[in-house]
């Protein structure tokens, strides 16, 4: 998955497990950028009576580097607090929840948003902000979107907006296929262990996640407070990532756990699939614990990705009369400057006409967004490689097909941008295998992530 359960340790700590991270110029407010960090993978909508919620003991953060050193210049922090109205019932709600203040809603979460810049912390909310409840079903959470979802969008000072709560999973991927020895559609018949073509499956369909979304003016993010208008201007590009941290010490007691010490990072996410597909098992937990500024130690995995070596072995079958990944096999041992640019430094000017999102030579996994590029009138889910510079890897929109884009890049499609190389025909055909043309209904405005699936209507097995 993008980053769901991507490392051994964080897979056991879903509340702190970042699943997806998005950063894009807001299509309906082009003077602002929306940052979305999703947590808690694969929430079965019917998973009660203790429905999903953020961790009160977790520090959630979204970081911005605006000068290319891969260190956070601006950080938005989100802290949650759970309130139980009636501890004498096992119920999440004792009647229909008609509003965010409904007395029948028993277990609620509130949160604060803090902006940190130059060591100065500023709380952006003047009162505790309300999360919406989980979408239980038509009796418990009737008219969810109107009664509970929309009212949970809060305005903050400085023209900012924020939302934190359950949303429908928007990431799509054919997990069962990919993790079954890289059985990539539409090439099942060419696989080392061939099989007949089958219908595509979106393995995340019907699940929910917990979303932290904040929309801020572009001037909130640039190094000098300027409004980015020139694509070639280095001030226009930011690097962004999310992280989750826990206290260093926890003592489990019968009368309430004790936590103390500084926050220690346990999860992070910039580019989709980086830790999942690029970093090997033995380094995944360490990757989650360090900052992007320390990513040079992982550059070797980007330059020589394991998957690029596996594809020619897994697919000895022929496409257009030649082995599917013949040219890719010839790249074995060649440092992948294309992947380094896409994932670790940003793409310098001069490679793609009229585009750059280069943040400097410091190699770091950050999602890079050139904020001077305006939202596309007719977006293409394949983003930059399909001629839509407003999409991945220039930031990431919620609907971007990042799995296909990254698979094709690793398969050699983007190496032609930096060297005299002819990509294999198969590299332009491979997909993530899912039904990416039919993602869950997204919202046209903030927070863009769709209304969560309801537990009552869910057929997801919990």
């Amino acid at each position: 998955m993008s980053s769901h359960r991507e490392a051994p340790e964080i897979a056991k700590d879903p509340v702190a497990d970042s699943t997806d991270f998005y950063a894009f110029v807001s299509p309906d407010a082009s003077d602002k950028v929306t940052l979305i960090a999703n947590y808690i993978p694969l929430e079965g909508p019917a998973g009660g009576p203790n429905f999903y919620e953020f961790g009160d003991d977790v520090l959630y953060e979204i970081h911005i580097d605006n000068n290319g050193d891969a260190l956070a210049d601006i950080t938005y922090q989100f802290r949650f607090q759970t309130v139980v109205m009636n501890p004498d019932t096992f119920l999440y709600n004792t009647g229909p929840i008609g509003s965010l203040t409904d007395s029948s809603w028993n277990r609620r979460q509130f949160y604060t948003v803090t902006r940190v810049q130059n060591g100065v912390s500023t709380v952006l909310n003047d009162h505790p902000l309300r999360c919406p409840p989980c979408n239980i079903g038509p009796r418990s959470t009737p008219m969810y979107a109107d009664n509970l979802g929309t009212p949970a969008v809060h305005s903050l000072s400085g023209g900012r907006k924020v939302f934190a709560g359950q949303r429908a999973e928007a990431f799509y991927v054919d997990l069962g296929s990919i993790f079954d020895l890289g059985d990539l559609r539409p090439f099942q018949g060419l696989h080392l262990i061939p099989s007949a073509p089958t219908s595509p499956v979106n393995a995340t369909e019907g699940y929910n996640v917990h979303t932290i979304a904040i929309q801020v003016p572009k001037t909130d993010l640039t190094r000098d407070g300027s409004n980015p208008t020139l694509v070639s201007d280095s001030r226009s590009t930011i690097g962004a990532w999310t992280s989750a941290s826990r206290r260093r010490a926890r003592v489990i007691q019968n009368d309430g756990n004790v936590e103390a010490g500084p926050f220690v990072q346990v999860s992070r996410l910039g580019n989709p699939l980086f830790n999942e597909v690029i970093v090997p098992m033995g380094d995944k937990d360490r990757w989650n614990a360090v900052a992007p500024s320390q990513d040079s130690q992982f550059a070797k995995y980007v330059q020589q990705p394991e998957l690029a070596k596996l594809l020619p072995v897994l697919y000895p079958g022929l496409v257009e009369g030649v082995p599917a990944f013949k040219n890719l096999a010839g790249l074995n041992g060649t440092p992948r400057a294309d992947l380094m640019a896409i994932l670790m430094t940003g793409i310098p000017g001069g490679i793609v006409d009229g585009f750059q999102n280069f943040t400097g030579t410091t190699p770091a996994d950050m999602l890079r967004l050139n904020m001077a590029i305006t939202p596309a009138g007719s977006p293409n889910k394949f983003g930059l490689v399909a001629g839509d510079p407003a999409g991945f890897p220039n930031g990431r929109r919620v609907f971007d097909d990042v799995v296909t884009v990254e698979l094709r890049a690793i398969a050699g499609l983007t190496y032609a941008l930096v060297a005299n190389y002819t990509p294999d025909p198969a590299a332009t055909l491979v997909t993530d295998g899912s039904i990416g043309d039919d993602p869950p209904t997204l919202l046209g405005s903030f927070p863009y992530m769709g209304t969560p699936y309801s537990g009552y209507d869910s057929d997801t097995t919990n």
Partner: protein
Amino acid sequence: MADLTRRKFLARASLGVAGSGVALTALGKLNLPGSSASSRKARAAKQGPIVAHIRNAETGEVAVMTGSKEVVFKDTELVDRLLGRA
């Protein structure tokens, strides 16, 4: 962290009410100033839990954590006494 010297931190740690029981018992015997019962109670109320962690028994390295602060120091004598009680 920088505003918190080891001695001040130990003094605060000795006033704590929660956390690693064995460690705090030992820390409380350091007989640091200001550890009367009344002041201990008052300061503990706003101190919050304290956790002490022996990071390396061989070198006597101990980390004391409270709130978001952590102080690391070496005290082989203290560690020896704690281990004697464990």
